[in-house]
Point group: D2
Chain length 254, copies 4
């Protein structure tokens, strides 16, 4: 009997299916040949409809107050989960690890950022940080943003600072004597971060590294919410083969 090389599509359920992100996830799953959207669940719907429909992976873009119950139920049912909901503390992650200890075949991916480009930017920045004496971060966003710097920029600067410390690199060279307040940006663990706000921008970040006679720049431009979908799909495709808890998209990109 011939063995077919056509793999069955992965059966996917979406929690928070009517939310901003959930809608995008449903569209992306629907459009992917190797995935099948079998359940769209939101407030008021029962989770069991996902198991009834035979969901193998569940994507959760809900809210911090319900996500732990959702996760507990999924793990209990033996269904792997890709979680984009925010608000995960180390304590919460520890509880999930506890549940998973009893379900060796189940995988849970909790990722604060599903933008593949953003995650690679941070990986590359952490690696380059060990080889350049100078580094600065410039993030650029639409003018309705409330915080400056962005969370991603702050996180990037912290990763860079840690990599420099590990490599034994001293402070960034800077002879500035005469500064108009703020010109040199915010100081995040010794790394200068500049926040640009302008109409016509969405979400962009540039990390500039410099040493004698050369610079290396890593830039990420995100144009819309859809930019998270390749990362979500990557998670759906990979999570059943990664039992236990995976935090962040990084391990899936190696």
């Amino acid at each position: 009997m011939p063995v077919s090389d056509v793999r069955e599509p992965i059966r996917v359920g979406v929690l928070g299916a009517r939310g901003r992100m959930g809608i995008e996830v449903c569209k992306a799953v629907d459009a992917a040949d190797d995935l099948e959207l079998v359940a769209m669940i939101d407030q008021g719907d029962g989770l069991f409809s996902a198991s009834d429909a035979g969901a193998e992976v569940i994507v959760d873009f809900t809210t911090p107050d319900v996500v732990m119950d959702n996760l507990h139920w999924c793990v209990d049912q033996g269904i792997s989960v890709v979680v984009g909901t925010t608000g995960f503390t180390e304590q919460r992650l520890e509880r999930i690890r506890g549940w998973l200890a009893h379900k060796p075949g189940v995988g849970v991916l909790v990722a604060p950022n599903f933008g593949i480009g953003a995650v690679l930017m941070m990986q590359f920045a952490a690696k380059a940080a060990k080889h350049f004496e100078s580094v600065e971060v410039i993030e650029l966003h639409h003018p309705r943003k409330l915080d400056a710097p962005s969370g991603t920029a702050t996180h990037t600067a912290q990763l860079i600072a840690r990599a420099r410390a590990e490599a034994g690199i001293g402070p960034v060279p800077d002879a500035t004597k005469d500064e108009v307040d703020g010109a040199r940006g915010a100081d995040i663990d010794g790394v200068r971060v500049h926040s640009v706000r302008s109409a016509g921008l969405v979400a962009h970040q540039e990390v500039l590294f410099g040493t004698t006679g050369e610079t290396l720049t890593i830039r990420h431009d995100s144009l819309d919410r859809a930019s998270f979908m390749p990362g979500v799909l990557l998670g759906i495709r990979a999570i059943r083969d990664r039992p236990g808890l995976t935090v962040g998209l990084d391990p899936l990109l190696d």
Copy 2:
């Protein structure tokens, strides 16, 4: 008798010929087919050697304490001058205008910046400023620079602020509520300016304009001192046809 279309080269003398900039000017004049270097003068040399050599244009890259005497002598001799020396106050410019009033055929160009790219960047920025609600300036320099922002960036921001005021444009939109000190840069007349310092950089500036759905960016990269030479040569070629005092390279670029 046939009329030749080969114009005689312009005879050029250089004051401050052994200084950093003077050396570059001598090289650039020497390399130009339509210019002839007839006098290289520095401390201890007499100015008259320039007139003896028939200099038609003199370039002055000396120091604030001698430049006014040099200029007075040149104007008196009827020789046009291109001045890159710094330290010109409105008072000094007024004195030069006084001398030139008696010498209708002589032109003097005093320019704080001979970089054609930098001057065009500022012209374009002032023009674009009237058409975009958002604008920020990012300047990037080597880490040995003492001041932040750079003089060029401050000047650019002031030109932009003035153009916005004239066009009746209100403040740049910015919803920032939660800022780590310095993240949003220095405030120069309402325009945010960010100063990046890194090894591997020389002198760079970017002006970013934004409105609904689009941005316009003007960027200038200056790699070395030689970048001022095209502007100096432009001045030499034009100054005899511009009697009186010309301040800045702008009018020559139109």
Copy 3:
């Protein structure tokens, strides 16, 4: 009797109101305090409803086969028009000029591109072209685009070539001896143009000018259709004060 300084809003009608661009125009007019949307007209609606509603300016984003009839009617009614419909030949423009000759108070603006950023980019490029020996154009678009280079890039290169010719600048320096086919881009009137196609891009263009030791880069990024709206609004606000035919947004930006 006190004179009010509150100007009456301009009454605007939109032809092609249910088309892609028309919908955006209606939204933008509606959102502007100084404009009032009084008529939304599309296929099957009568033009007279615009005049009945007292439209002072009509915006036309229809199709080449109906636009001339629309224009004739508007001019006849004494209503000024802002036209974004494509397909205008010199012959068509001549006919419009003929109609306008009899209606001294009416203005018509026909613009192939309402992106203020794109129009400024071309203006700046034409100006900078006279001062740099090197220049190249890089345009970047989404991968569904059919033509390469883009119309804007071709037009920009032609403007640059013309400006160089007028300034008497010779060919761009280029020592390339050993080229893999296509590496040096397309040759548009002696200006090299490179077309980049990538997912995640929308519509972008960069013009790079270079001379000894410095480069000047003008970059335009357009993220969505909405980027044309500031240009359309600019046209609406200005056209009643510009009787006769205006071609292109340029004159309104000075």
Copy 4:
């Protein structure tokens, strides 16, 4: 007796010390606190002066016709070598491996490119290639360059093509139907490469990756020959701890 934590400087000899690169290497070694320049050797000088001076590492920037003899002698003497000379074929590398087999304590680093930034750019590009459907390479150089694309750009494109093939990614999406010859660049193993040439540039490269809604750009700017020195110093510091043959800077950057 107190143990000193001050390590003895590494004693370094330079072959080709009067060449363009050799001069820079001598300066860089001389300026580094942890290195000591003990021999500067060029044509006509005997190699033994390096061993007499107690060189522990020798840097070779000579020519393809003498480098193999130099290397043989160094390995024979038990001195580790950092080689920047060009012209290494697989055959030559095999011969070096043969010599080193008998000298277990000696390390040889042969690197075609000592620019840390360029090497990281290629590493990052190869990694990102697996995660983006679109990718293009844009390299920008001074107009005196003879080949297009540059060797680095060609190599980068090949690395990307190989990574895509391994990840099972199909052709880059591109709907271009109507192309002016050359607009879409050179095709290097299915990756489009664009070569920009302009006065005012030195050596620059940009790799642009794109997927739905986002792009990731890696850019390297090299301003002068000195940019290779941090890579050469890295090699000098590391090579004694890496017995055998090391090809390329990559392994030293991990």
